[in-house]
């Protein structure tokens, strides 16, 4: 990640990559949605509600993947003082919060017709709700200091402590088996319990969401880099 260490170079690379990842995100999500809504037949048990899976599962994966990358960026800022580590972590938080929110709401919309309830205090649902609050806490903590650098550092420490939520979410379905089904795709025994015809649109959507994450992250990091340049220019103008 050293080639990204120079903010000016980061912006130049971001400008070159952005059109391609944005286009990739649009194409993959369009293909994934078309497949999930039209090509895949209704499930023999769940009927057409199974189509909610094509947004729910990728959103839930992203909720965790964004957090893992956010924590890695925060660690690179704390340990190696990577100049963009804190900026990347701060920029990722709202994107992760959005995916976590979507995982919760689409899960609720799937739970009502299939489980008969919008919400239960089940291990999986509760731990993902905690992840959502963790994202909100990180976003609030950055803003809670007058000096933005101190806020970013405090949030980075909280981000590292918060990593404990990821294994809790992953294994919650095994530890506290109540309503949420256990893993069917990434299983320890390697035996995926979902048919390939239903699986591939999930993977396409997940790739599309990942491309979306990279695109929006690049925009937000670039905004932060330019905003700090703007602040130093404003200081120079005030001095003159």
């Amino acid at each position: 990640m050293h080639f990204l260490a120079n903010p000016g170079r980061f912006v130049r690379i971001a400008d070159r990559v952005l059109p391609w990842v944005s286009a990739l995100a649009v194409v993959l999500v369009a293909v994934g949605l078309y497949a999930g809504l039209v090509i895949v037949p209704a499930d023999y048990q769940q009927g057409d509600t199974v189509r909610i899976m094509y947004v729910h599962v990728p959103a839930a994966w992203m909720a965790m993947f964004v957090y893992a990358s956010l924590a890695a960026a925060a660690a690179s800022g704390l340990i190696w003082r990577h100049p963009l580590g804190f900026v990347i972590a701060q920029s990722a938080a709202p994107i992760g919060a959005a995916f976590t929110f979507l995982a919760l709401v689409t899960g609720s919309l799937w739970g009502k017709p299939m489980w008969g309830t919008w919400w239960v205090w089940d291990g999986r649902l509760t731990s993902v709700l905690i992840l959502f609050f963790l994202y909100l806490g990180l976003m609030a903590l950055v803003e809670a200091f007058d000096d933005p650098k101190r806020g970013q550092k405090a949030a980075a420490v909280l981000a590292l402590v918060g990593v404990v939520i990821l294994p809790i979410i992953k294994f919650s379905v095994d530890w506290w088996a109540t309503l949420h089904q256990p893993a069917s795709i990434m299983r320890l025994d390697g035996q995926t319990t979902i048919h390939a015809s239903q699986l591939w649109p999930v993977l396409v959507m997940a790739l599309g969401f990942t491309a979306y994450y990279i695109a929006v992250l690049l925009v937000r990091v670039k905004q932060q880099v330019l905003a700090s340049r703007l602040r130093s220019l404003q200081l120079a103008a005030a001095d003159a």
Partner: protein
């Protein structure tokens, strides 16, 4: 797909499937749009300052005794 109406009906689950899909698209589009809008605002203020000929101060090195 038998007909467009059947597609919209989602086997009787339209009230759950469509809000899930549309909310996902709405949230993702809103976040992308607001991120780009914020970047554009920053770029605009930066251009305005640079047009005034303001330059960054050279960094002073801290020297302590």
């Amino acid at each position: 797909m038998q007909s467009f109406d059947a597609f919209l009906a989602m086997g009787g689950y339209a009230a759950y499937v469509w809000p899930a899909i549309l909310l996902t698209l709405a949230v993702l589009l809103w976040l992308a749009w607001s991120s780009v809008a914020r970047l554009r605002r920053t770029q605009k203020s930066l251009k305005a300052l640079e047009a005034l000929g303001v330059e960054r101060r050279p960094r002073r090195r801290k020297r302590e005794g």
